[in-house]
């Protein structure tokens, strides 16, 4: 990757990451390390450390909430779930994403034809 693609790539990620996290948390309550498993596949992120500040920002903005749950190994864990505000945000993001991908798709098709 050259410098330019790298920069664009990291800017694209920045926008998409929060959306991805919301998508994962929407399905069920999650523990932060569980999120990484799903994202690793896409090669979007590989280290857990990236998630903590993102999740924290979402929580502090009121889109996520957490509760302590006992764990089988060691001390209790923070499990995150989505709030009403979070669901609204996610719905907005869904629309935006659909529009975006439609635009991209049509642009690509136009170009090839």
């Amino acid at each position: 990757m050259n410098m330019d693609t790298e920069r664009t790539n990291s800017q694209m990620r920045k926008g998409i990451l929060e959306y991805c996290i919301l998508l994962i948390i929407e399905k069920n309550e999650v523990y932060v390390p569980d999120i990484i498993e799903k994202l690793k596949a896409s090669n979007l992120i590989v280290v857990e450390g990236t998630l903590y500040p993102l999740v924290m920002r979402l929580k502090n903005s009121g889109y996520l909430s957490y509760q302590w749950k006992e764990s089988t190994s060691g001390p209790p864990r923070k499990y995150y779930s989505i709030t009403e505000a979070g669901k609204n945000l996610l719905a907005d993001l869904d629309t935006m994403w659909t529009e975006l991908s439609n635009t991209i798709e049509s642009l690509k098709n136009n170009q090839t034809s």
Binding site: L17, L44, E48, G74
Partner: protein, 521 residues
């Protein structure tokens, strides 16, 4: 065997290897610096610490109770280094933040990744922030023009600077220059950190009070003071060590083992190695000097080294310290042995006496004078120590000494003189041999004696405290004409009633064991 540290993370206690602890704590510091010290940052750090604790507890088994460096590195690779987190979050590390993170812990290491030889230059470059190529060029130039000295410097640096092995050490390696304002910043930062930690603690449990706060501040201030003070001590160690090394190196060695007169504070000096050669012979002199160099310079080098360690936070290297100590002790042992061996060459006193009678008429006068001609040209390079002169003429070295004359009263009417050659040696025979090699000339013509002003040591001599004593025994009342030049070698300690002021050419005679001037009408 390894030292472990006990830490608690999220309410769990872990035993962790010291090296692993260093890496972990610098990792957490790094994260703290990155996430900031606001409320949100604390929460993130707490979550991450909880996760680390969880990962650690998975590592602990009944057969493995201690967290190793490998475990820590594994955990860091799961959570990600700050750089990876930045990259994935699509953020650029702000330069200001970088300073903040790296200022507090900065150490000099050898950089193995960019190395050509030992990584000394790359390490220095990372440490000082000077361009690596520039440092290499400077080193190359010094290598070429310092006649091997730079090679030594490089090797010493290679030896004393540890290489950056772990990621944490690599991070410590990169940083800003140590100067007073940065030290000040570091201290301020640490003070802030303690203050905020303290505030946190106070929030948690309610026994914090103002007094305690003040106490903490005082302790912190004291720490800061000792930190700056320590750096000053480190710097003065280096300055003193380098200064003494140069002075002693010049005084003892650099001035070469050749005959070479130099002046310090108006006094003519000879290089120590040269003087030593005159006393001990070439080989022994060199052995002595090497031993002396070890004894003198090893402590100076450790002084400089400890200064460097203090100033640049180098890890102290036990193996190096022990080997320096062993080196110093062996140097000292060698020095003592050589000194004893040299001193045994001076242990015995030997003398050879040659006695001659002079036939004389009681009424005749005895003439004493001196062949005063200098055996050397004053224009030649020469140095005089008391009555001892070293002269060099076309690479040939000659040593001259002044004989000592005693005039005594004879118990009867006999007139005679004794020439006594004295020298030291390892035993009687050796000493006598050394004494016999002293060359001294005088001439007797009827009743006129002409003494040479100087005696001479043989070629390729060693100094063995050679001297010549002349004893002239004269019957009472014998008239003598003594030229004033003779008084130059006359032993004035003897009870002559004449003071130096009236040492004039003239007639003298012995009376009641005393040399008295005679007024002749």
């Amino acid at each position: 065997m390894k030292k472990t540290v006990s830490i608690h993370l999220n309410g769990l206690i872990f035993n962790i290897d010291e090296d692993a602890y260093m890496v972990l704590s610098s990792y957490i510091d790094e994260l703290k610096a990155y996430f900031g010290s606001k409320e949100e940052g604390y929460e993130i750090i707490n979550d991450i610490e909880a996760r680390i604790a969880e990962l650690f507890s998975e590592k602990i088994k009944p057969s493995k109770q201690v967290i190793s460096l490998h475990d820590v590195e594994e955990v860091i690779s799961i959570l990600g280094r700050v750089e990876e987190i930045c990259g994935e979050a699509g953020e650029k590390r702000e330069s200001g933040f970088q300073d903040k993170e790296q200022r507090s812990k900065r150490k000099l290491y050898r950089d193995q990744e960019l190395r050509i030889l030992g990584g000394v230059c790359s390490g220095l470059s990372a440490y000082t922030g000077i361009n690596l190529l520039a440092i290499r060029i400077i080193f190359m130039v010094l290598f070429l023009f310092s006649a091997g000295f730079m090679t030594l410097v490089y090797l010493v640096l290679w030896l004393i600077i540890p290489k950056a092995r772990t990621v944490a050490e690599r991070l410590e390696m990169k940083g800003k220059d140590i100067n007073i304002s940065n030290i000040e910043n570091t201290i301020k930062e640490e003070y802030q950190e303690v203050k905020s930690r303290f505030r946190e603690m106070k929030r948690g449990n309610n026994f914090g009070n103002k007094l305690e706060n003040a106490g903490k501040g005082f302790v912190q201030g004291l720490n800061a003071f000792f930190k700056v003070f320590g750096k000053l001590i480190g710097a003065s160690f280096i300055a003193l060590g380098v200064f003494l090394t140069f002075i002693l190196a010049f005084g003892l060695f650099a001035s070469s083992s050749e005959f070479f007169i130099f002046e310090i504070a108006g006094a003519n000096m000879l290089p120590v190695p040269y003087v030593l050669k005159l006393f001990a012979g070439t080989t022994t002199a060199y052995v002595f000097l090497i031993a002396l160099a070890v004894v003198v310079f090893v402590p100076l080098l450790s002084l400089i080294y400890s200064g460097v360690s203090i100033l640049f936070n180098l890890k102290s290297m036990r193996a190096l310290n022990i080997s320096l100590l062993v080196l110093w002790i062996s140097g000292l042992a060698m020095l003592i042995a050589v000194s004893v061996s040299i001193s045994t060459r001076f242990i015995s006193n030997g003398e050879i006496t040659q006695k001659s009678h002079i036939t004389h008429h009681p009424q005749s006068t005895l003439y004493l004078s001196m062949n005063h001609s200098m055996p050397f040209d004053n224009k030649l390079e020469h140095i005089s120590i008391d009555e001892f002169h070293l002269i060099r003429n076309e690479n040939k070295l000659t040593a001259f000494g002044t004989p000592e004359l005693n005039i005594q009263q004879s118990p009867d009417s006999s007139l005679y003189y004794e020439i006594q050659r004295v020298a030291r040696g390892s035993n009687k025979t050796d000493a006598s041999k050394n004494a016999s090699q002293i060359r001294y000339n005088y001439s007797i013509n009827d009743s006129a004696i002409v003494f040479d002003r100087y005696f001479k040591l043989p070629e390729s001599f060693s100094i063995r405290f050679q001297s010549i004593n002349i004893k002239l025994v004269v019957p009472e009342g014998k008239l003598m004409y003594i030229d004033k030049t003779v008084f130059e070698i006359l032993d004035t300690d003897n009870n002559y009633p004449v003071s130096e002021a009236i040492f004039e050419s003239g007639y003298y005679m012995m009376k009641n064991e005393k040399l008295l001037p005679v007024v002749k009408e």
